[in-house]
Amino acid sequence: MSALFRPRANTFFRIALVVILGGAAGTVGGMMLYARTPFGTRQFAELQQPIQFDHRHHVTDDNIDCRYCHQTVERSNTAGIPATSLCMNCHSQIWNRSPLLDKVRESYFTGRTIEWMRVHRLPDFVYFNHSIHVNKGIGCETCHGRVDQMPAIQQVAPLTMQWCLDCHRDPAPHLRPREAVTEMDYRPEKDQAVLGPELARKYDVHSRTSCTTCHR
């Protein structure tokens, strides 16, 4: 009686095995990898905002401090998106006929809010708090990047849990003096390896890694 399978069948079987198992693992692994690429984390994506607000101009040319608009960053969990009335503090005087600011004036006079697109989004089960980070010497730039060079705001940090934990486990390299929190293109006065631990002591930095620090 001849063999049911020819020797070639062994090879086919091995290939099929690799394709099935490897494909399954590859699919899962690929999806996990994808979630960590800038496509998955949505880094560097440029969003169409209702108004062409240019941070470059406001930060660099006008030298406006971040906290003039993001007022609650030192007091609350949210940094705060400025109210239309705050825009009008200046724009009732300057560029008050610019067509680029039509929507700002429309919002101010109709009382309808400006619908901004959210760029930095954390999942609903993450409770991030700006005030504690800013008060312990984490600069805006550390997470939000060189906002002074962005024509439109984009997310530069991956905002993954791994990224959060990297800093929470060792915050010293990222600390800067409180006075310099909103500074862009910040350069430490002395070696960060010395300054970092010094500031950590000064500001009593105890970054926590318990789950409920962020998840409640």
Partner: protein, 988 residues
């Protein structure tokens, strides 16, 4: 008996504590411990949800996996909506507390309501308000759910025609004008009782315009008898306000002062403060027909039918007159039959002259109140433990008498316009008045209502009422203190307040309630700086210096004696039927509130139902078991009700809680329980004898949490008599301290800055259940419905276990709030395959929802059975207003996720960030758990065990401290303090 429990020492011979078996249900007691033990799992506990079988679930799971990748391609982008003009002082992300007040039966309680970005999300007590002292009851908290109820009444209707707000005011103005000609002779108002000075002012002005109009107040839970008792005893309608801080002996005559009433929160605080060692314990006697919250806490629960209470009180008076020389009481004692209990109580009261208090509940007739006044007077308590205050309500009579007079006028066709703001009078009025039929004779019956209820169906005009948290106004506490009521949010639906409606009859509705309120108080307390004062009163929640001064009246014994003689005789045989306000539905006004519907009844642990409560002996005589449907007949009327056997209930009596059996009022209210009010008559609103009972042979299923999560045969809720405490306190040593272990210490928590812990003082806990509602509100806990509770799937993170001990007829009750114990060596953590429950460095047993895959191993391994699993998507699609209720600091859990008490970790983290930004450690006053903050008795204390000065640390080192299931070695962070009882040795 079962096997001895590991780690638990045998009790020495002669120790009788072991002879008092703990039992959970009457079936269990009757059958003996082993046979009658309720099954571990409820029928249906393992059955799949109705909609989806396991097979189709797996199919869907496969499809979900297959398509999950596709969905990840394009999750929606969120939008940000900033303010156009940011309100001054508002910091997005920071909650603000506003002081306001809520009224029930016309009496205000000061509150602080938390507002997140303009949404009220949590109700706390106002520590500065004398009727709250920082505590808050279930009703005030659950009002918040009503605010967001999507089935609330909305808009204005006149005979089915929709009206705009303007149109309504116009129509009302014309209606009012029509009544001007005859001076309002055919204009009547039926109002919710109120103590509001603003309402009083509006009424005065309405009477100026319509001199012949009349106002009637209706409260199905009226306390008229108390004022009438004052009239008899003092010649003035004074109300007795006890001061329990100084009372050593308390006799409550059918008075549920710990469970219900305008002064519940204050009295609970004062009572509980006298239940801990280190001072003289107070002693509480409760004479009542049922088993109330107050009865559960009594040192001696003296069960008797409602009509027998007066005889008991007279027997006490007789003993005081004959044995203790209080001759002034002699005329009150005529015909009293001495009982050992009455004599012992009298002896005890006499020993504590000037330091005792006799309290009488609103269910008892006026003559009994007068008798209590006489007793307090003779014992020297007046002015010491009992103060007498002038009534604060705008109407001295809020009971059936006024309503009956109004009904007679309507029947005679003398009323053209009836303005109703009372809560659902068609449902709550005594059955003999038949208000529903009468309202058809009123051409213009205006009804201002929060819900489309029975009365709305009978009235020709239905006007949606603004919620109490949406209105301006004022109210007075039971002691007279005025609170300004400020809205937390603009009305969510088109609606108007009572002030607007009354103002419409003055053509002044345009003014708005805030302006009216301000003008009134400017007149009363005007002068320079008024605007500043007004803002200060709003911020503080009360107007200083408005409390009533105490009166010093002398009781007139002869009048009291005459009133007692005039009391109708105890009357016909048969069963006595008694009506009580329900702890959840109240008089029906909260029947549409799902939080309260699902709150386990403090005594019977029943949810979504009421029942006819009767004693075990009566049930045996009538051959009834729990859930049997019976027809109760009383004076020609009948209702069908399921029975529930209540240990400690008086024999030959039925207790029927009001507020259920609603025929309208929204999907939650309808269909739950039976309407006991159908048996109520205006001449006997609280109890009546001569009822007959017929068994129908059908049964009613109850959703009761009583036999859940059984922890049987173990020393759980420990208590000691005051006398045996010194001898027996050594026993507690075996229930605390470090258990022997071969495992190395897991973590040096002593080195951490914070070590969170809780202490629950069982001596203080009264079982009122305010903490359960507080937890539900703070932590976004869903309501699951009767069907799911029957399958034991209720979601409350905090439950209050209630155990009976001793004889079924007259048991002692032990209460124990149980939430996650945050064990240092937590059994749940070892078994989680995905590390979804882990331990924090500060000792919290953390639950990480986004890791949980729902194996439920943790719940299986939890000896305290405090973990709750989302078997179904209990939230479902939430209405937009329901989403506004959610606490933004707590994740809204989805289906398939385990959850449990977190020690309010969101409050810890919030306090931590605020303290660290300010540069100081978290201080004790910075942080309270939700249950602790709500507890009127201060039974729950939370804090940092590494702070030697903290209250929680001192309680953890208290000699009454013990750990629940200590022998398991779980090292719980929640400590219990054993309860002390103070029985009278003469009654032993």
């Amino acid at each position: 008996m079962g096997l001895p429990i590991y780690g638990q020492a045998a009790r020495p011979p002669g120790d009788d504590r072991g002879q008092r078996p703990l039992w959970r249900s009457l079936e269990e007691l009757a059958a003996g411990r082993d046979e009658g033990r309720s099954p571990e799992f409820a029928p249906g506990a393992d059955s799949p949800p109705d909609a989806l079988s396991r097979r189709s679930f797996l199919q869907l799971l496969g499809a979900t996996l297959a398509f999950a990748g596709l969905e990840a391609c394009a999750p929606p982008r969120e939008k940000i909506y900033p303010f156009v003009r940011q309100p001054a002082g508002l910091v997005p992300g920071q909650a603000v507390h506003y002081a306001t007040a809520a009224s029930l039966s016309g009496y205000g309680v000061g509150l602080l309501v938390r507002s997140n970005e303009g949404r009220p999300t949590k109700v706390e007590g106002n520590p500065d308000h004398p009727a709250s002292l920082g505590g808050v009851g279930p009703f005030q908290q659950a009002l918040l759910l009503d605010l967001y109820d999507p089935s609330r009444a909305r808009g204005f209707q006149k005979r089915g025609r929709q009206l705009s707000y303007r149109g309504t005011l116009l129509e009302l103005s014309q209606l009012a004008k029509g009544h001007e000609a005859d001076g309002g002779a055919r204009l009547r108002f039926l109002l919710e009782p109120s103590s509001s000075p603003l309402q009083a002012e509006l009424r005065r002005r309405i009477l100026e315009r319509f001199p012949k109009a009349r106002f009637t107040a209706w409260d199905p839970l009226s306390d008229d008898a108390a004022r009438d008792g004052g009239r008899i005893a003092f010649g003035a309608p004074l109300e007795a306000r006890p001061q329990l801080a100084r009372a050593d002996v308390i006799l409550a005559l059918d008075d549920d002062f710990l469970g219900f009433g305008p002064e519940q929160l204050r009295l609970m605080r004062e009572y509980a403060a006298r239940r801990v060692q280190g001072q003289e314990l107070n002693r509480l006697y409760v004479a009542e027909p049922g088993l109330s919250v107050t009865g559960m806490n009594a040192d001696h629960h003296l069960r008797m039918r409602s009509a027998e209470v007066v005889g008991f009180a007279r027997a006490v008076a007789a003993r005081l007159a004959s044995k203790h020389g209080l001759a002034s009481l002699a005329p009150l004692a005529e015909g009293a039959r001495a009982t050992p209990a009455a004599s012992a109580v009298a002896d005890d009261l006499a020993r504590a002259r000037g330091r005792s208090a006799v309290l009488c509940g609103p269910r008892q007739p006026a003559a009994v109140h007068a008798l209590a006044h006489a007793l307090n007077g003779a014992l020297g308590n007046a002015g010491s433990t009992v103060r007498y205050l002038k009534p604060v309500l705008n109407d001295l009579s809020t009971g059936p008498a006024g309503l009956a007079a109004l009904a007679a006028e309507v029947k005679a066709g003398k009323v053209d316009t009836l303005v109703v703001t009372a809560a659902n009078p068609v449902y709550s009025a005594p059955a003999d008045l038949d208000l529903e039929a009468l309202l058809e004779h009123v051409p213009n019956a205006l009804y201002l209502t929060l819900h489309d209820d029975e009365t709305a169906e009978a009235c020709s005009w239905v006007l949606a009422a603004s919620h109490p948290y949406e209105q301006w106004g004022d109210t007075r506490g039971p002691d007279g203190t005025v609170s300004l009521v400020q809205p937390l949010i603009a009305p969510l639906f088109e609606s108007m307040g009572e002030v607007d409606l009354l103002s419409a009859f003055l053509d002044q509705a345009d003014l708005g309630a805030r302006r009216q309120l301000q003008e009134l108080w400017r007149q009363r307390r005007g002068g320079a700086g008024f605007d500043h004062d007004f803002e200060r009163w709003l911020a503080a929640g009360l107007v200083p210096g408005t409390a009533s001064p105490a009166e010093a009246p002398a009781p007139r014994t002869a009048a009291v004696a005459q009133a007692l003689r005039d009391l109708p005789p105890a009357g016909a045989g048969g069963l006595e039927v008694g009506f009580v306000p329900d702890y959840k539905a109240c008089d029906g006004r909260f029947a549409a509130n799902a939080w309260l519907q699902e709150l386990p009844h403090p005594v019977s642990k029943m949810t979504w139902d009421n029942a006819a409560y009767l004693s075990p002996a009566t049930a045996e005589k009538l051959q009834l078991v729990n859930g049997d449907l019976v027809e109760i007949q009383l004076a020609g009327r009948a209702v069908t009700a399921p029975v529930w056997i209540q240990p400690g209930h008086a024999d030959d009596a039925l207790t029927l809680p009001l507020g259920y059996g609603r025929r309208a009022g929204g999907p939650v209210a309808k269909g739950a329980g039976f309407d006991a009010g159908r048996l109520r008559r205006s001449d006997a609103p609280w109890f009546a004898a001569g009822a007959a009972l017929r068994k129908l042979g059908k049964r009613h299923p109850f959703a009761v949490t009583q036999t859940h999560d059984s922890m049987e045969g173990r020393p759980l809720a420990l208590d000691f008599g005051a006398a045996e405490w010194q001898r027996g306190k050594g026993e507690l040593e075996e229930h605390r301290g470090d258990p022997a272990s071969i495992m190395p210490a897991m973590h040096a928590y002593e080195q951490e800055q914070y070590r969170w812990g809780m202490a629950v003082d069982l001596s203080r806990c009264t079982g009122c259940s305010a903490c359960v509602v507080a937890c539900q509100s703070e932590n976004n806990i869903p309501v699951v419905g009767k069907d799911q509770v029957e399958r034991r799937r209720e979601m409350h993170w905090l439950r209050i276990d209630r155990y009976y001990q001793g004889a079924a007829a007259d048991p002692q009750v032990a209460l124990q709030p149980v939430a996650c114990q945050h064990c240092e060596t937590a059994p749940c953590e070892y078994v989680c395959p995905v590390n979804a429950t882990v331990h924090s460095d500060e000792g919290l047993n953390e639950m990480v929802y986004n890791r949980c895959v729902g194996t439920r191993y943790c719940s299986n391994n939890c000896p305290y059975k405090v973990r709750r699993f989302n078997f179904l998507d209990y939230r479902g699609e939430m209405a937009p207003t329901e989403k506004m209720l959610m606490n933004p600091e707590v994740t809204v859990r989805t289906r398939g996720v385990m959850e449990k008490c977190t020690y309010c970790v969101q409050r810890i983290e919030r306090a931590r960030i605020e303290a660290r930004v300010a540069g100081h450690p978290i201080r004790e006053q910075d942080l309270k758990s939700a249950c602790q903050q709500a507890c009127p008795a201060e039974a729950i204390v939370f804090g940092n065990l590494n702070d030697p000065q903290a209250r929680v640390t001192r309680l953890h080192h208290d000699e009454r401290r013990y750990d629940l299931l200590h022998e398991l070695g779980t090292k719980p962070r929640t400590a219990y303090l054993a309860r002390l009882r103070n029985p009278n040795p003469d009654l032993a």
